[in-house]
Assembly symmetry: C2
Homo-oligomer: 285 residues x 2
């Protein structure tokens, strides 16, 4: 596995790997890799001829009061995992390589960026879309893999790809969960052991919402109420049932519905979601 | 010359024209073509193997009170001119093809977009950058041609290309002027005959600034003052002397300087500029 940390070098190496009959897959990550990330790499390996991955903790998607400085970083362990999974090229860069002095260009989706996680993280999705567009331009992948865990991110990236006429096939892979249902996240390590146990209620709340939907409940407000009851106390950032294309709450569940929530613990803010068909079966954004 | 008005068709035709040993040139325009546009096409024909052009009056770059509805349109004449110049593919589209329902993604450069023309046209450059990025993604040109006439646009597009790691070589071509010095513009037809005569003072003001610089004047404020004196009355939107990389006024002229101005006439708002080396010789942004 080649490891490069400069953009021109990444472009050059990708051009050497590229071939009209080769499908190039990209797995963009912020590192601190867990089984969720590895499931993306495995899907890419299965469906692509060349797989590139990036490990870049993107400062543009962190707010001033957020955990950029303390976000877990372990490049050596990440590189070993990616090499074992058959990644051909790993790109990792300093913030200054991606955002050099005088950097000025950002991609945004104003309305969608203000919803759900955007409510408490106002510039987050602008940072996400910008870095993803840069990575797409550097790697020019045929296929890029993202996790359903970050559902709003997936929805907005798919919207960007369509709006900006990008030739990238964005594929969403299912959430990978711990035995108690907690969605895997690089930030789970920052939970106290008590909060770690408590955090299983996020998944239980989503399951309750799914069961209510399967039992015929088509009112988004009542689905949210069901989830809130199971979720109980704690500092809830949001609990919503939205249309996964628009991120707006529909009047009734007619088509797919995204149950999504965010809860703050002292150690970490956790998010989780389920994207469901109207009969309650699981699907992906 | 092939004329296409749907994005998938443009992508398909460009893929058929593309070849590893062929240089693809793109000339994006809003139509109502004059000798300024044609100079871009001729440069593209000289330096590229395949030349594509677009004629699209981009609603996203017009403000609500601006002249989108009245912007001159003459597709038939434009197509005849482009065919004569050897353009291989002309792309023209309805606004709904470029911005379908649910469209949400825009590219911006907040600080630079608020300067110069951005002062009176707050969303203009967001619209410009977005449509240019879309056209770059649809056509994937090796080289794209823009006129020095829209200097701020060129500076911001070059900044976008660098920031977003796009593989496009942006080339700036000199302003083409009428015999009295007025920069060619699709909007000149909307000037009354008296204002058309009067408008030659824009170029005279720039010439005075250039002469002052060549004579050793390195104070941007005094260059602006010189230009304002020649410009005289009328509704001046701005007159500035800025660093062509940042669009900020430097303390002293040390390197290149962009003399740039905008004046409102009842029929049209006119812009003009000169990009100069510190010795007063002309260069391009």
């Amino acid at each position: 596995m080649l490891i490069v940390d400069k953009i021109p070098q990444a472009i050059q190496e990708m051009n050497a790997l590229r071939h009209p009959r080769r499908i190039v897959g990209l797995v963009p990550t912020m590192g601190a890799l867990h089984e969720g990330h590895l499931s993306l790499v495995r899907a890419a390996r299965l469906n692509c001829d060349v797989v590139a991955a990036s490990v870049f903790v993107n400062p543009a998607q962190f707010g001033a009061a957020e955990d950029f400085d303390h976000y877990p970083r372990n490049l050596e362990a990440d590189a070993a995992l990616l090499e074992k999974e058959g990644v051909a090229l790993l790109f990792t860069a300093d913030p200054g390589e991606m955002y050099p002095e005088g950097y000025a260009t950002f991609v945004g989706q104003e309305e969608m960026a203000s919803r759900l996680c955007g409510g408490s993280r106002p510039k987050h999705f602008r940072g996400v879309l910008t870095v993803v567009l840069k990575l797409f331009n550097i790697f020019r992948p045929n296929v890029a893999y993202f996790g359903q865990k970050d559902a709003q991110q997936v929805v907005m990236i798919k919207r960007m790809v369509s709006d900006l006429n990008l030739a990238v096939d964005v594929r969403t892979m299912p959430i990978i969960r711990e035995p108690d249902g907690l969605a895997m996240s690089s930030r789970n390590v920052y939970l106290s052991s008590q909060d770690r146990r408590d955090a299983a209620r996020l998944y239980r709340a989503l399951c309750a919402g799914r069961e209510a939907l399967a039992a015929g409940e088509k009112d988004p407000g009542r689905l949210v109420e069901t989830m809130r009851q199971v979720l109980g106390g704690g500092e809830i950032d949001y609990v919503e049932a939205v249309d996964p294309r628009t991120l707006l709450t529909p009047e009734r569940v007619r088509d797919r519905i995204l149950l999504t929530l965010a809860v703050r613990y002292p150690g970490a803010r956790l998010i989780d979601n389920m994207c469901l068909n109207s009969d309650g079966t699981e699907t992906l954004c």
